[in-house]
């Protein structure tokens, strides 16, 4: 089957769970016969791909179904009969045209049907992203995630940043805090409390010419355990993607800042945003140790 080009406007649907996508399909089936095949096909493909990767029993066994079809349905006794009759077979050929799969001649959506589905999607996204303790506006929300990945949406520019600041000439940093200070970063974003036994492996600073971002990182290690602290100074646009598993993302408030805590198999990461800084701590330690490290950032 040829792969259909998809409207990028539908990509937000990837944020929804399979149950939520199924609910949209159910809405489509009961709300009339208006054509929105592009959207439906996109949803079907998302569900199908998810099931092919991680089956939950939603997909039929095609070979078995075909055998059953030949044995039970496509038999002479059924000639001219229908298990679920409709009266509109003759209308189908008038409606189905176009060359792509499921793509039929587009008809304008009815306003309420379009609004209904769009509103359902908006509601689902709102429910998926607004934290338990609420924001005054969803536009204040800056973290976006699915069950697979986490990332920050566009964050506000740091209006106080002096774009004419010269980068430091020396590359020797005594600590992560030292490196940040040398680049003129004064925000409290570095943990003051690293658990006993962890050794600092390096202070890594990289300037990216394309985006203008500067990345600072300090990994610590103790045996098989590690802690990696990363701070990225960006110009209002960040494109970091954090891997995460199916465990639910948690919110942790400290220093009046919301920290997102999520798991990636054996690791846990806290990510947060402060002005034009995107910060994270990834570790193999338990969540309570991570929270202690976060708390220490804001201790005076």
């Amino acid at each position: 089957m040829a792969e259909k080009k998809h409207n990028p406007d539908y990509y937000y649907l990837n944020q929804l769970s399979t149950e939520q996508l199924e609910e949209l399909l159910r809405v489509d089936s009961v709300s009339g016969k208006e054509k929105n095949d592009d959207l439906i096909l996109y949803i079907l493909e998302v569900i199908e791909k998810r099931e092919q990767t991680s089956p939950t029993g939603r997909l039929p066994d095609v070979g078995k179904a075909w055998a059953e079809f030949k044995e039970y349905y496509a038999i002479p006794e059924g000639d001219g009969l229908s298990l679920y009759p409709t009266k509109r077979e003759e209308e189908i050929f008038l409606n189905a045209r176009e060359k792509d799969d499921f793509e039929v001649q587009r008809k304008p959506w009815r306003f309420m049907r379009h609004t209904f589905i769009a509103a359902a999607v908006i509601a689902l996204i709102i429910l998926s992203t607004v934290p338990a303790f609420g924001y005054s506006s969803i536009f204040q929300l800056i973290g976006e995630w699915t069950a697979e990945q986490f990332g920050f949406a566009d964050a506000p520019r740091d209006t106080h940043h002096n774009s004419e600041t010269e980068p430091p000439g020396g590359k020797n940093y005594t600590s992560l805090q030292d490196a940040l200070i040398q680049y003129g970063i004064a925000e409290a974003v570095v943990t003051q409390s690293i658990p006993d036994g962890f050794q600092l492996e390096e202070i890594w600073v990289q300037e990216y010419a394309g985006t203008g971002n500067i990345e600072f990182s300090a990994p610590y290690a103790k045996g098989d355990d590690y802690i990696i602290i990363t701070v990225i100074r960006h110009n209002g646009q960040t494109n970091s993607i954090y891997e995460k598993d199916e465990k639910e993302l948690a919110h942790y408030m400290a220093g009046n800042i919301e920290h997102y805590i999520f798991h990636n198999n054996n690791n846990v990461t806290a990510a947060w945003s402060v002005n034009s800084l995107e910060c994270s701590i990834s570790t193999t330690l338990p969540v309570d140790e991570l929270e202690k490290m976060i708390d220490s950032i804001y201790e005076e």
Binding site: T53, L124, W204, S240, N264, N267
Partner: protein, 143 residues
């Protein structure tokens, strides 16, 4: 009409909450990664026809090799796309050994005004030899 449309949308959103509230749960198994903790990739036009390809990968621990696995650049000549240049993990500036994190900017000398497609794959390989990768593609017009 705008007020009516807005009211209709608000009413339907309110109704939608009652419809969707019980059905809020993820059910599919996501990907995650045992080698990659986070990554970022971008390709932007720089002056003089250059394309700047930034990449960064943070490993899920210390990795035996970490960085960019490949960068492939295609240019549009007329109506056709043609292969222009590729970088592989063995090229200078693409990877680092025995590291937790690595990133860099790789430049490609393009032609001003020409369209390019840039496919970037980053990866991390741990001490057992297991590796994972992530890819992104970009459309860039050189300036």
């Amino acid at each position: 009409m705008k007020k009516k449309s807005f009211l209709a949308i608000v009413l339907v959103i309110i109704c939608s909450f009652s419809m969707v509230l019980p059905a809020f749960a993820t059910s599919y198994v996501p990907f995650a990664s045992d080698q990659i903790s986070s990554y970022s990739i971008s390709a932007t036009a720089a002056s003089g026809g250059k394309i700047a390809i930034d990449f960064s990968v943070t490993g899920a621990g210390k990795m035996s090799v970490i960085g960019a696995k490949s960068i492939a650049i295609y240019e549009k000549i007329g109506s056709r796309w043609e292969f222009a240049k590729s970088f592989s993990q063995g090229d200078s500036g693409m990877t680092k050994a025995n590291a937790y994190i690595y990133g860099n900017t790789i430049y490609y000398n393009g032609v001003s005004g020409r369209e390019y497609r840039v496919d970037v794959t980053v990866f991390a390989q741990d001490s057992t030899g297991a590796s994972d990768s992530r890819s992104k593609s970009f459309a860039v017009t050189a300036i």
